[in-house]
């Protein structure tokens, strides 16, 4: 998979199906990396505006990371699209629940 962005603790790739695949920590350092990739992919997208973000290998997320996901959700809504979170880990799901933001996303698949 081609790499779309990275820092010391986060790698973001684009899968053949167009899904954005994040691996590592999405925190105050990783959030901006993910946001830059999301903005770039959104600009390239010619579909229905729906963005799929695969979170299978996300090991940590905080509100900084969540903000990048919420920003994508807001922009997708403006395009009548949606953000699909694929295989969010227990910690990602918990953060969504704590902040009351689960309904901002479509959740697909469960983390093993």
């Amino acid at each position: 998979m081609p790499e779309a962005g990275h820092n010391d603790t986060l790698r973001v790739q684009v899968a053949p199906d167009g899904a954005i695949v994040a691996s590592g920590d999405i925190d105050v350092a990783g959030g901006p990396v993910l946001q830059a990739v999301l903005l770039d992919q959104e600009a390239r997208s010619d579909g229905d505006g729906t963005i799929v973000i695969d979170l299978t290998d996300v090991t940590f997320i905080d509100s900084s990371g969540l903000r990048s996901l919420l920003g994508a959700s807001r922009r997708a809504g403006e395009r009548s699209g949606a953000v699909v979170l694929r295989s969010p880990s227990t910690s990602v799901r918990r953060l969504l629940e704590i902040t009351g933001t689960t309904t901002q996303f479509r959740i697909e698949g469960s983390h093993p």
């Binding site: 603790t9 920590d25 925190d27 105050v28 350092a29 969540l66 903000r67 910690s91 953060l95 704590i98």
Partner: protein
């Protein structure tokens, strides 16, 4: 959880850079392991510390951030401080961070005084919380 015996607080001073959040998380999670916290507590401590670091990095303007970690009975106290000439207490990102801290930390406070931004959080492990 068994109380950890420390000769004093653990103080970490790092450059005020986003990449340093992970380093401080690692220090805090190591301390949580030493205190025999369980896996869920350790994950919670990491989130609390990460929220403190994120707020200080994004809202401070000093060259460094100091985080003090210490136990008060069974609670882990986290105190982060940096310079901040101005401070927008009503920012949306701070509100989201505050929501997370309110849900996970047993107490938290954000103070801006004399050009310094101070964030305090206390974490009480689940087994202690359950015991009342």
């Amino acid at each position: 959880m068994s109380a950890v015996t420390l000769g004093g607080p653990v103080v970490v001073q790092v450059p005020a850079e986003p990449a340093m959040a992970r380093l401080v998380r690692l220090a805090a999670s190591s301390l949580a392991v030493m205190a025999a916290m369980d896996v869920d507590d350790i994950e919670d401590v990491k989130i609390v510390v990460s929220e403190v670091m994120a707020a200080l990095v994004e809202h401070g303007d000093g060259p460094d951030i100091t985080v003090k970690l210490e136990f008060d009975d069974d609670r882990l106290l986290i105190r982060g401080i940096t310079d901040a000439a101005t401070f927008a207490a009503d920012s949306a990102d701070l509100a989201l961070s505050g929501t997370v801290l309110a849900a996970i930390a047993s107490e938290h406070a954000i103070e801006h005084t004399d050009g310094r931004l101070l964030i305090l959080a206390a974490y009480t492990p689940h087994d202690v919380s359950a015991d009342g």
